[in-house]
């Protein structure tokens, strides 16, 4: 009665997922296992291990903490997907207009910029001004949403972070994906508006758009990762980020054309201006949509866009990707103290 007949388990069966096999083996063992346990309680209790020969865990003995880094995040794809879906659902649950708010918000900003700068302050010198602004807004909105929501993400999910061993970069990345999810319909609206302006697409449109999105994705995720950790230690950082994102709106050629930057600041400062990756992303989107919507695309491309825009775009993609790597290194140093500082 005492020794449970051991169920020989094939040790080659799967790693952690092999647990289900192990459980089945254990379940068969249940009736027999109970007897010796009760008898074995008390002073002899420590002999516990020998009785459980049937239950073999075929996994290595490792540290229970998840390994850091973005690679780990994408190994938890399923959880990431659920988190993103939860975020999207929860953000608008209980509101009557629901998901529509994610359009009303950028649309209202668009109207403000269009009415104030386009009509009242008379920026009529810019052709297809509405498209010009909207191109900028798609990029800026994606960036600021990721940066703002990402910065708060770990603190907001503290119930999870304090109790479960999930890679913590998961939360800023989920914020980025939620924002990205809202970008796509905006691009559709942009295309429709452009067609209304007589836009003729060229093969470089998707290249420019994807390059711009890649730059913003990398940079915004990098910033969100660093600031989400910093925000755990001092909540001041979320206020800093609100200010920064306000500055971003005016640091890109959205409400004013790039041509004015070059002519009013001079060539040197314009070159410095172009070291802002968000500005390049906006220009790339304008290259994709706005230029084609102006009456004379050839002339607009020549006068409105900076020389070497593609080169700038490529360099900025590299810069953003490097910053994403740096962000993970910084995050790794802060990460250890996060659970205990989240109160």
């Amino acid at each position: 009665m005492t020794e449970t007949p051991s169920h020989p388990e094939d040790p080659s069966e799967g790693g952690p997922t092999g647990a289900s096999e192990g459980t089945e083996g254990g379940a068969g063992n249940r009736g027999g296992g109970k007897g010796p346990r009760k008898g074995g309680r008390g002073p002899a209790g420590r002999a516990g291990a020998g009785r459980q020969a049937a239950y073999v865990v075929d996994a290595p003995l490792t540290t229970p903490s998840p390994s850091p880094g973005l690679v780990e995040v994408f190994r938890h794809r399923y959880l990431l997907r659920l988190l993103v879906r939860r975020e999207i659902q929860a953000r608008y649950s209980g509101s009557f207009l629901g998901l529509l708010w994610s359009y009303i918000n950028p649309l209202s900003q668009f109207l403000i910029y269009y009415v104030v700068f386009g009509i009242i302050m008379g920026r009529n010198s810019v052709e297809a001004y509405a498209v010009h602004v909207f191109c900028g807004l798609v990029v800026v909105h994606f960036f600021t949403e990721t940066f703002n929501a990402g910065t708060r993400s770990i603190v907001r999910n503290k119930a999870l972070v304090r109790k479960m061993a999930v890679p913590k970069e998961m939360f800023p990345v989920a914020s980025m994906l939620v924002s990205l999810y809202h970008v796509l319909p905006q691009v559709v609206i942009l295309v429709v508006v452009c067609l209304f302006y007589g836009w003729t697409p060229d093969p470089l449109v998707p290249v420019a758009l994807l390059l711009a999105l890649a730059i913003v994705t990398c940079l915004a995720t990098a910033l969100a990762i660093v600031f989400s950790a910093a925000n755990v230690f001092f909540r001041d950082f979320s206020s800093v980020v609100s200010i920064l994102t306000n500055v971003v709106r005016f640091g890109v050629p959205m409400i004013y054309p790039f041509r004015d930057v070059a002519s009013k600041l001079g060539d040197t400062l314009a070159a410095v201006y172009l070291w802002n990756p968000i500005a390049d992303a906006v220009l790339l989107v304008q290259r994709a949509f706005w230029v084609g919507a102006t009456p004379d695309p050839e002339a607009s491309a020549a006068t409105e866009l900076p020389d070497h825009l593609w080169a700038y775009g490529g360099v900025m993609l590299v810069v953003s990707a490097v910053s994403l790597v740096l962000a993970q290194l910084i995050f790794r140093r802060l990460e250890n103290k996060i659970p205990e500082r989240l109160t």
Partner: protein
């Protein structure tokens, strides 16, 4: 150092230090610094704790409030890393540290089950397979498709518990899990935990109730101010923490009352 196949948890010279901060704002810190007061101090919540656990053992972790039990579980769970020493575990870990962690009040019970199971490391397929069992265990009936925010705290706990006990894990951690919940549910939970134990999984059970530790465990660890004060058989362990005198007689009845 190598360990045999049957080792489930290794805790080796582990210590964990927390920083206590007395002031947080800039103004308070400046004032305190000018007066020469300390603005923070460090203390060891865990101090050089070592033990190993074989697969299939069920450990009762006891100790007074603040002795470091929950801290030790978070280290084993992998949420925190030790400041000194190392923690090694084998297989998937689940448990009742986190009943309802990640429950989102605005989502329905059903959606939350999937989310919580994913947080515990289950795949979509595994959750699908276990779904009926989970719902059955929680027995929250028609509330399954309503928002979790409107649940009573007991129902909330039941749902979390139901997910946790149905995760296919190799190591099961329980930290004073049954504080809420009505009596039939507590009994059901203890039965389920015994079932988990008997299936050969390692159990780590934190409790102040001598009765249920006696029922559940075959080894007791006692923490005293972050140090491992006792490691051995159940009855001696309960004697060590002096919990054996008062509840000898009402043991069975009060089984779950102060789990």
């Amino acid at each position: 150092m190598s360990f045999p196949e049957s080792t489930s948890i290794v805790v080796e010279n582990v210590s964990k230090e927390f920083t206590l901060r007395y002031q947080r704002t800039f103004k308070q810190v400046t004032v305190a610094k000018m007066r020469g007061e300390a603005t923070k101090s460090r203390f060891k919540a865990l101090d050089d704790v070592s033990f190993t656990v074989e697969q299939g053992e069920s450990i009762g972790l006891m100790g007074l409030n603040g002795s470091g039990k929950s801290t030790l579980l978070t280290l084993i769970n992998g949420v925190m890393r030790p400041d000194g020493g190392r923690v090694l575990t084998r297989g998937r870990i689940a448990g009742l540290i986190a009943t309802g962690a990640g429950f989102h009040p605005q989502l329905t019970g059903r959606e939350n089950i999937y989310l919580n199971a994913a947080v515990c490391g289950m795949t979509e397929k595994e959750t699908d397979a276990k779904f009926d069992e989970i719902v059955d265990f929680a027995s929250i009936g028609k509330h399954l498709d309503s928002q979790v925010g409107n649940y009573s705290s007991g129902m909330y706990a039941r749902l979390g518990f139901a997910v946790a006990v149905n995760v296919d894990c190799d190591i099961f951690l329980a930290d004073e899990a049954l504080a809420v919940g009505d009596k039939p549910f507590k009994r059901k939970c203890l039965d389920k935990m015994q079932e988990i134990r008997d299936s050969g999984r390692t159990i780590f059970y934190v409790s102040h109730a001598a009765g249920s530790v006696r029922k559940m465990c075959d080894r007791v660890l006692v923490l005293e101010n972050g140090r491992l004060g006792f490691d051995g058989p159940v009855d001696e362990g309960i004697h060590y923490v002096k919990y054996d005198s008062d509840d000898e007689d009402n043991d069975d009845d009060e089984l779950g009352a102060d789990v």
